[in-house]
């Protein structure tokens, strides 16, 4: 059972739809007591960094998530903004992130050619950088492509935490991992068979 954390940020319906299609049990959960019992967590997120961190810091959610990620070490997957929250901080806001992975979220603006449209929106390909259970079987596709929508991107401090790379004016870390903690910048739930493969892999971890 995968617990999709509902903290008021984002498009949870489509994530649940894809798990349902794959025959993987999942539940959308906002009740902290129930999240406390989760064996696998998905942290979604669309919106701004500070709003998301404020919502997570409010009440007991932050404490429960820290416990789950660091002490119990259950598998956690952050999607899009949910990935950026795993980092130490973001140029988008003032708040500290969850800081579980040594990385920062930084802006495309001023780092890429001004001709490039921001947000980076659309399909793009990913390239494997480090082996990971999350990306097993990607070599079966002639190219793995995913749907992205974001204005900020993640840069890891240690290359071993970068499992996928993507290029949009600049090369960035499109998937990261540290032990049981995973993050993907793209939307697997909107990425056809590529997203399904990734979700299946996560369900198996």
């Amino acid at each position: 059972m995968i617990t999709i954390v509902d903290y008021g940020m984002g498009n949870l319906g489509s994530i649940k739809n894809m798990f349902k299609y794959l025959g993987v049990e999942s539940t959308i959960q906002s009740d902290v007591d129930k999240i406390k019992r989760a064996s696998k967590i998905l942290l979604p997120g669309v919106g701004s960094f500070d709003t998301a961190m404020q919502k997570i810091n409010r009440g007991d959610l932050r404490e429960v998530l820290d416990e789950k990620a660091l002490k119990e070490q259950v598998p956690i997957l952050g999607i899009c903004l949910g990935m950026q929250l795993l980092t130490k901080n973001s140029e988008e806001g003032e708040f500290d992130g969850l800081g579980w992975i040594d990385a920062k979220s930084i802006s495309f603006k001023d780092r890429v050619d001004s001709q490039l449209k921001i947000p980076h929106m659309g399909w793009n390909i990913v390239r494997k950088n480090q082996k990971s259970k999350l990306t097993e079987g990607f070599e079966l596709f002639d190219e793995s492509r995913f749907y992205f929508v974001h204005s900020y991107f993640v840069r890891v401090e240690d290359e071993k935490n970068s499992i996928l790379k993507t290029e949009y004016g600049v090369e960035f870390d499109s998937a990261i991992q540290k032990d049981n903690i995973f993050g993907v910048q793209f939307h697997p739930e909107k990425s056809h068979k590529f997203g399904m493969k990734l979700f299946e892999n996560f369900a198996r971890i």
Binding site: G13, P119, W123, V149, S191
Partner: protein, 257 residues
């Protein structure tokens, strides 16, 4: 990898998919769910649904059908058709769509775009403009799926939608709709050169070269396609299809760096 998004634009009329010619002649295409299953298998980039009657007759949004669509589709989805409030948009996003297309209701409530953009981000709002040429030259914007003539000029309105917070524009030539005669290059170019946000060209696509042309000559960031993905050929029967990706890629590579 396609550098330009090619988006099947599907028209809903009650529980059916239809295709129009110049916003008229509602030709029955099929059941929306069966159709989206095919597009899902074809792995199209993105799908757009416009409920033309919701818009034309101010009918309520059919959330049930949107749910059925979202259960089958694992690609970006957008919906347009009488979205009146932030609450409507919230419901649509909760179902699993990530963009809303706003056209008619922006004319009396431009703030709607601002509200949705603030809440869900600019990338979630597509401002839509339908344009028709007059008999004696000149052109007008029409709302309510071609029913109501508006006063604003195209460029002026495009800029207003942009500054209200639309993250993208859908620009439709009513005259070209369903005609297989190619996009309106001049119109598209006029809009792409006056706004910063991406413009989706719509109306008239009949071939891969039409797509390449509007991208190369008019700077469209994306192309909406209708007839060419629901009919076998011009004047022939219904056949849900999508242009061969390699040929598309090749045509687009020749016009995009």
């Amino acid at each position: 990898m396609l550098k330009v998004r090619v988006i099947p634009c599907l028209l809903l009329k009650n529980r059916s998919l239809v295709k129009t010619v110049k916003f008229k002649k509602y030709n029955y295409i099929g059941d929306p769910i069966n159709t989206v299953r095919i597009f899902n298998e074809l792995e199209v980039d993105e799908l757009m649904f416009l409920d033309i009657f919701a818009s034309k007759e101010s009918r309520d949004i059919n959330f049930e059908i949107l749910k059925d669509i979202a259960n089958e589709c694992f690609m970006p989805l957008s919906y347009g058709g009488n979205i009146k409030s932030l609450d409507d948009a919230k419901k649509i996003f909760a179902i699993g769509f990530e963009k809303v297309v706003i056209n008619s209701n922006a004319f009396n409530n431009l703030e709607l775009i601002e509200q949705i953009a603030k809440y869900f981000g600019q990338q979630s709002v597509v401002g839509s403009i339908d344009v028709k040429k007059g008999l004696f030259g000149g052109e007008h914007i029409y709302s309510r799926h071609g029913k109501k003539r508006e006063k604003e000029s195209v460029v002026e309105w495009a800029k207003k939608l942009e500054s209200a917070g639309a993250g993208e524009l859908l620009l439709t030539s009513i005259d070209r709709d369903g005609t297989w005669s190619g996009y309106d290059i001049e119109l598209t170019k006029r809009v792409t050169s006056s706004v910063q946000i991406p413009v989706i060209a719509n109306g008239g696509a009949g071939s891969i070269s039409d797509i390449a042309e509007v991208v190369g000559r008019a700077n469209a960031s994306a192309c909406a396609v209708g007839s060419m993905v629901v009919y076998q050929k011009r004047g022939m029967g219904v056949l849900v299809n999508f242009p061969d990706k390699k040929s598309l890629e090749k045509a687009l590579d020749s016009v995009v760096e």
